[in-house]
Symmetry: C2
Subunit: 413 residues, 2 copies
C-alpha cells in the first residue's frame, strides 16, 4: 500500500505558512506501515491540482489531499477531484442543511458561498467533520482512492486518525490491528542508544513483529518506538507491552516518559507524588524553565514560580549569592536555595551560565552550572559545557536541568 500526500495552497508556496500537516500525516502513515514516497504542495490552481493528482495516483494506490476545502472561490480541491474523476459535483442536501443549521445556531447570516462545502464529486462520499465546517471527501476512481481533509491541523488530525487511517488499512486488506508505543529517552546519543538496544533489534528481525524504530527529537531526546501487529488490538498491545519490559530493562532511567509525556510532565508527576512544591532561579535560561513548566495544565499545584536573575546585582541582592563568580557551581547552589526560600517551595532548582555570543568573566560560551536544593537543606550543584548557539544553549540547559531533577528525585529513597 502506497499513499502520497498533496498539500493545497498558494500561501504554502509563498512561504506565508510552513506546511506541518504533511510531516504529521507522513509520520502517521509510517507508524501504520503505509509507504509514502512523495509529498507535494501546489497552489490554488485547478489545472495544476488536477495534474498533480494524475501524476501521484499514476504511481500510488491512495492519495491524501490536505487543504482547499474552504468556502471561497480559491478553494478548488472539490472541483479538481471531480475533474480528475470526470464527474460533476453534486450538492448533498443533508450537508447543506448541516451547514445552514450551524450558521443559524451562531445567529449569523450564511454567505451563499458556504454551500459549496456541501458539494461532493458524483460517486464520492463526504467524511463528517464534527469540529469544523468543511467535510472531508472520500472518492474512489479506477481502483484507487483519494481522501481530502481540511487544512486546519486539529480538524485534519482527527479526521485522519478516526476515519482515513482505518479506511486505508481496511482497503489494504490487512486484517491485523497495529499498536505502537513511544518510549521517550534523554541523555544518550543515537548511536549509543542503538548499540544498547542492538541485540533486541536483531532478536526481533526474523519475525518482524514487533519492530523497533529510533526517532530523533532534537533537544527533546530520542524516541524508541515499538510497533506490533496482532489479530486483535489486545494481542498487539500485549506484544508491545512485553517488548517494552525488555527495552526498559536495558535503558533504565534513560526513559523519562511515554508517548505524549514531556520532560516537564515527568518532573511534575514525581513532585506531585511526594506532595512537594517547586521553585526556580534562572539566569542563562531567562525564564524558559518556568515557561516550559507552566505550559502543563495543572502545574499550579506544584509550581510556585521563578526568579529570573539576569543581572548580577539581582543575584547578589535578591538571591543572596555570595560565591565569588556568579557563573559557578557555588552560585548555582546558592540560587537554588534562594529560590526555595524566597518562593516558599520544597524543592529549588537553579541555572547560571554563559549563552554567548561572547565569553563572560573568563567563562567560555556554553559553560553552564546547575543547582538543586532539596528538603532538609541538601544542596547539590554540577557544571557542564553545552554546544551550539545562544538559543540552543538556553534550550539545552533548560531540559538538562529538568532531567537532572527527574533523576535526582528517582534516586531518593
Amino acid at each position: 500500500m502506497r499513499c502520497e500526500v498533496l498539500a493545497i495552497g498558494t500561501e504554502l508556496l509563498l512561504g506565508q505558512i510552513v506546511d506541518t500537516n504533511s510531516a504529521w500525516i507522513g509520520e502517521k502513515l509510517a507508524e501504520f506501515g503505509v509507504d509514502s514516497y512523495e509529498h507535494r504542495a501546489v497552489g490554488d490552481n485547478q489545472v495544476r491540482i488536477v495534474a498533480a493528482i494524475t501524476e501521484l495516483l499514476g504511481r500510488a494506490d491512495a492519495l491524501i489531499i490536505c487543504g482547499g476545502l474552504g468556502p471561497t472561490q480559491d478553494d478548488l480541491t472539490r472541483d479538481a477531484i471531480a475533474e480528475y474523476m470526470g464527474v460533476s459535483l453534486m450538492r448533498h442536501d443533508e450537508l447543506a442543511e448541516q451547514i445552514a443549521a450551524m450558521f443559524r445556531a451562531r445567529v449569523r447570516d450564511m454567505p451563499q458561498n458556504n454551500l459549496r462545502q456541501a458539494d461532493v464529486p458524483d460517486g464520492g462520499a463526504a467524511i463528517p467533520n464534527p469540529i469544523g465546517t468543511a467535510p472531508g471527501l472520500r472518492c474512489e476512481h479506477d481502483g484507487k482512492v483519494i481522501y481530502a481533509v481540511p487544512g486546519v491541523p486539529y480538524e485534519m488530525q482527527k479526521m485522519i486518525v478516526e476515519q482515513v487511517l482505518p479506511d486505508l488499512l481496511a482497503r489494504s486488506g490487512r486484517r491485523s490491528a497495529i499498536v505502537s508505543r513511544s518510549l521517550k529517552t534523554w541523555g544518550a546519543s543515537e548511536s549509543g542508544l542503538a548499540e544498547m538496544v542492538a541485540h533486541r533489534v536483531d532478536a526481533l528481525e526474523a519475525a518482524g513483529n514487533p519492530t523497533i524504530a529510533f526517532l530523533a527529537r532534537g533537544i527533546e531526546g530520542l524516541v524508541v518506538r515499538i510497533t506490533a501487529k496482532g489479530p486483535t488490538e489486545a494481542a498487539a498491545r500485549e506484544l508491545v507491552a512485553a517488548e517494552e519490559r525488555e527495552i526498559r530493562a536495558i535503558l533504565g532511567d534513560l526513559v523519562f516518559g511515554v508517548d505524549d509525556e514531556t520532560m516537564e510532565h515527568a518532573v511534575l508527576s514525581r513532585l506531585r507524588a511526594r506532595g512537594w512544591t517547586l521553585a526556580a532561579a534562572e539566569s542563562v535560561t531567562g525564564g524558559l524553565i518556568s515557561a516550559r513548566i507552566v505550559n502543563v495544565a495543572g502545574a499550579s499545584d506544584v509550581f510556585k514560580g521563578s526568579i529570573v536573575s539576569y543581572a548580577t546585582e539581582v543575584k547578589r541582592d535578591l538571591l543572596d549569592v555570595f560565591a565569588e563568580s556568579v557563573v559557578s557551581e557555588a552560585a548555582a547552589g546558592e540560587m537554588a536555595s534562594a529560590a526555595r526560600r524566597l518562593l516558599q517551595a520544597d524543592v529549588g532548582i537553579a541555572v547560571t551560565g554563559v549563552a554567548g555570543p561572547t565569553e563572560q568573566d573568563g567563562h567560555a560560551v556554553g559553560t553552564v552550572c546547575f543547582g538543586i536544593a532539596l528538603p532538609g537543606g541538601i544542596v547539590e550543584a554540577v557544571s557542564t559545557r553545552l554546544p551550539g548557539d545562544r538559543e540552543r544553549i538556553r534550550q539545552f540547559a533548560t531540559i538538562s536541568l529538568l532531567n537532572l531533577l527527574r533523576q535526582r528525585l528517582d534516586a531518593l529513597a
Copy 2:
C-alpha cells in the same frame, strides 16, 4: 522565470523533520518576483530523485534542490543530478583539499566518505559554502539550471541569498535591481490594515512599481512589504523609501519595526535610548516575557530580570500584592511596582490573568491585566480579554504587554 523547489530526505516523508526550508525559499523567490508552482519532497532514493528532477524541469526553467549533499551513502543529490544530466561525477581536487584541511584544522581523522562532497557532475560547478562542509552545486542542462543547496537551514539561507538568487535573477535577463522592505505592524486586523492602505495600493497599481504586499505573521502581527524595481539598487531603494514615508504617515505607531526587528528589539532600543533598565513580574505568561527579551543578544545592559509569581502566595508575600483579587488591574500595577523595586530597575512591567483550561476566582479564561510602572512613581494598568487556548493566551499576553510598553514609551515627552 519559473523555479520549483525539491526537498530531499526520507526523514521528511517520515515526519521526523518538518520541512521549513521550502517555505523559506518560496518566500524569497516570491519576494524577488520568481514564480514557483510546486514544492516537492522525496526520499533518499536515486530513481525517485531523478524522476522528480525530470518532471519538475519538464515544466520549469530552474530547480532548487535542498538536502542530500552530506557525506554518507544516503546522500544522493550529486549522483541524481549527474544521472539526470547523463554525465559522470568528477572529483574536484581543490574541494577535496579544502575538506581535508578542515578536518586537519579540527585535528580529526577524515572518513574517506567525506571526499564524496568534492564530487561535481561533469560540466557543473561547485558553489562555495564558507560556513559548512557541503559545497552547493550549479548545473546547467538543456538551457535550464539546477541549484543544489545544503539542508542545514542557515547554510542554505546564506547560499540562496548570496549566490543562488543573484545568479537566478541574472539568468532571467532582468537588468533591474529589486529592493524590498518589511514594515512590521501590531494591533490592526488584516482587513483593517488593508482598508487603511487601500488608496496607496490603488495609486500604485497602474505603474506596478513599487508594489505592496500584506503578510500575516500570527501573534507577531502583520507585515506590509514594499518592493520596488529600479535600474540600479540605489534607484530601487529610493522608490521604497518614498513609499515607506507614505505608509508610515498612514499607519503611525502601528509600525513597530522593520525587516528582522522583533517587538522585543523595539522595546529594548527605546529603553536603551533613555538609559533605562527593565524588570518584569509575570504570572499568566510564566516566564515567556523574560525568555523573549533575553533572546536578544545584548539584552543584559537593559534587562535586570523577572519574577515569575505563579502561586498566589508569591504575589502576596514576595511582591506585596494587597489587591483583593490577584487577577485585577490593581494587582497588575502592584506587581509592576514590585518588579521595579525588587529588581532595582527604572521600568517595571507585569501581567496577571487566567490562561485556563478553567476559570479562576470568577474570572473567565482569557482575562488578562497588564501593569506598567515608570520612573517617578507613575503606575498604570489596563485589562483585556484574549482569545484562544492556554498557549495562545500566554503568547498573546506576552506580545501585547511588550507592545503596550513600546507605545507608552513613545508617548512620553
